[in-house]
Amino acid sequence: MIVNLGYTALLLALICSLYSIVSARVYINTNRYQWVDSARNAVIAVWFLLTLACLSLVYLLTNEHFEIEYVASVSSRAMPWYLKATALWGGQAGSLLFWSWLMSTYTGVVMLRDWSKERDMQPYIITASMLTLAFFISLNAFVENPFNVLWIDSFGNITASVMRPNANLMFTPKDGAGLNPLLRHPGMIIHPPMLYLGFVGFIIPYSFAIGALAVGRTDSVWIRATRRWTLVAWLFLSLGLLLGGRWAYDVLGWGGYWGWDPVEIAALMPWLTGTAFLHSVIIQEKHGMFKRWNMILIILTYALVIFGTFLTRSGVLSSVHAFAQSSIGPLFFMFITITFTISLVLLFRGWETLGSSKTLTSWLSREGLFLLNNLLFMGILVACFWGVIYPLISEIITGQKVTVGPPFYERTTGPQFAALLFLMGIVPLVAWRITTVNRLGHLIWKPTIISLVVPIISMISGVMNFAALLSLWLASLVFCVTIYEFYRGAIARSKSSGNNFYVALWLLISRNRRRYGGYIVHLGVVFMAVGIIGVEMFQTETQGTLALGERMHLGEYSLVYRDLTEFSANDGRVVTRATLTVYKNNKAIGKLEPQRDYYKDSMQRMTIPDIYSTLEGDLYVLLIDWKPVGLQQATFKVYLNPLINWIWIGGFGFILGTLVATWPDQRDRDILTNNKSFAQPL
């Protein structure tokens, strides 16, 4: 019953999404308003239908309907209810459905909220977004169906399909296989939705861009209309990346948060182009320049979103994150090719009209430095993209399989990230159009001198690594310049308006949220950079085998092995847990209990660290091995990760800054509604 309801809703959602495309097309041809209104209603109906399909699947998961192939493959009786519910995105079919539902939510909200804006573009916005959505729904309906039922024939062969094959009976396994142990972590409850919200969110500005190209719009009003969507997508993608890093740190047991794995890079690539777009689009809004480049960036971001989804799901590359592999790769490849080609055709058709008569006034201007910022983001993107696809290219051309690991990415992108930090340090002090070297020097000398304190103190503390000192100085420079910008602005406001400093600061931020929200994000980046420098350049590790009561040392910490216990957990795990007392400078400060989980159903092992965490750094301990007889000896791997928690703290800067920048602004609304040429009824 529920299966039929869910699958019917899925099929109807597909029909409605295709109808909305056709209906929008009919409006374009006939100019009869009711067609585009009907298309909009169909878009909203798709959301209701996909919500129904998702709820049906969640019901089946939480009520242990193991006769459903998907339920049997990703859940089990021993799993707690919340993991059963979140198993919705724990496998290929369910996560595709969830992806589609999120996308329909975005498009539905756009239809309800932004219908009065950019009405000339709406038929094209519907076409672009619903074409993407129809593709994903059709994957669910015909290739990766989450509502397939298990059937068994008289010979004991088990098949899965929606309809019952002849002479088959429904087959209900006693229990499901359970969720991949790697996904049974609180971080996985929230990490995939964040990442998907980021991925899917970029489809909205892309759809607007396609709409603008299709109707030949060369203004920047549509960009203003989609700015909030772009920022929201960017924030979710940033949070998805951060949470993914935290999950890897807590679950994968390698002592780090980022392994330059192909799937990690697949999520990073649209973030790079999205970030470049967020910067470059400001120039289009301010001065009407870089229209072509912005179109290229948004098309590229969309293509990379689909490409990233393809990489994760096709199995074309090996990855620790590739949980859901199937034969949908070729379909994805075709879709990417078709949409990318159509986008490029539209772009080249409007190439001339997108040109700008304005040119850069000076290289030492905010526009000029934003251009350099974009160049660096693209440089990093090329290195990432090339590193991801190179193993395939090498195998195709030379027949030789290669691994492109972290050293390649660190060497090719490290200097560019450092250069980006430097730009973040000077751009806030550079004016639009032109700044003189004298003026920049006048503004920057104070923050520069203050920023030197950090590398000098580091040197006095014994840090002699040049790269580390340079990176710390750059992070410090960005911090000082950003704080100086807040200070200067507030003082200027205070002097001119007579308000006290704090009121002036509040007014300054609230009246120019985008700029100061951006600066708060920059402060978040500084914190993250400090954390990354700490881990990447000062991480230390040791491994040793201890008998009970023995001690091992790392830095100022030491660990004494106290105990090892083994027990069966309620969820089907056999847990082996060690207890160690932690000492800092020979003073006991706590105990750590790293453990090894063995999942009997899937025969998978997981090494779960225990962490002594401070702002100064983490003591990260793993139980590697133990003697099964007598439990007298155990092997531990210990990492000292300096400053790593600054990375997570930096994430709050991202959230706060983006919230400030995206907070609804009456002046934006006025600009959009006052633009009468776009407020005409269709």
């Binding site: 994968l252 047991g253 390698w254 002592g255 392994g259 794995d261 090996s318 990855s319 620790v320 040119t359 850069l360 006034t361 000076s362 290289w363 000029g368 251009l371 350099l372 160049l375 440089g379 090329v382 290195a383 090339w386 590193g387 190179y390 193993p391 090498s394 030379t398 030789q400 399989k401 290669v402 691994t403 492109v404 690991g405 972290p406 050293p407 390649f408 090719t412 004016a431 032109i434 003189t436 070297v437 004298n438 003026r439 006048h442 200067r488 602005g489 200027a492 406001r493 002097k495 001119s496 300054l508 009246r511 120019n512 590790e541 040791t542 491994q543 040793g544 090494t607 791997k637 002046r667």
Partner: protein, 163 residues
């Protein structure tokens, strides 16, 4: 008595020598037995062909444990880091290395990103070369902006735009 003293001295010397050699033997034996950290230092530069994007030092599969044992044996036998990496590369192909060597077709991997950055930089330079203003000629003309009031104006002007 002298004979006894000589005999005692001889026996003592022999004892000390034996102890020294015994200790030396232990020391040598310890030197030949690499620590886990030495094994891990090489392991983290290798990837086993079976596991997915996990370096050897972090992988818990049986195959990876055996590889680490092999590294330990090779280190005990006095092999250098490069020799061990070369051994695994010869046995299982270059894919076991964390980074492909910069030779042959693999040069393309390493050279393309900086080359593309160079091309991008040239394009940007070409664009910037078209800038209309020469900074040197403008320097004196707009030097009066180097004062705090200018910033006040800037802030106020920008705020007025939005009001």
């Amino acid at each position: 008595m002298v004979k006894t003293w000589v005999t005692r001295q001889f026996l003592f010397s022999m004892f000390v020598t034996c102890m020294l050699f015994g200790s030396l033997g232990n020391v040598l034996a310890q030197d030949n037995s690499p620590t886990d950290d030495e094994v891990n230092a090489i392991s983290k530069q290798l990837y086993c062909p079976v596991c997915e994007s996990i370096p050897l030092d972090a992988c818990g599969t049986q195959a990876c444990i055996q590889w680490r044992d092999t590294i330990r044996e090779k280190l005990s036998a006095g092999w250098s880091e490069e020799e061990i990496k070369q051994y695994f590369s010869n046995q299982y192909g270059v894919r076991v290395l964390a980074e492909p060597p910069i030779k042959g077709f693999n040069k393309l991997l390493w050279y393309l990103p900086p080359f593309s950055l160079l091309i991008g930089s040239l394009l940007v330079i070409r664009l910037l070369a078209k800038t209309r203003t020469n900074l040197n000629t403008l320097d004196s003309g707009i030097s009066n902006i180097d004062n705090a009031d200018r910033y006040v104006d800037r802030i106020e002007n920008e705020l007025k735009q939005w009001e």
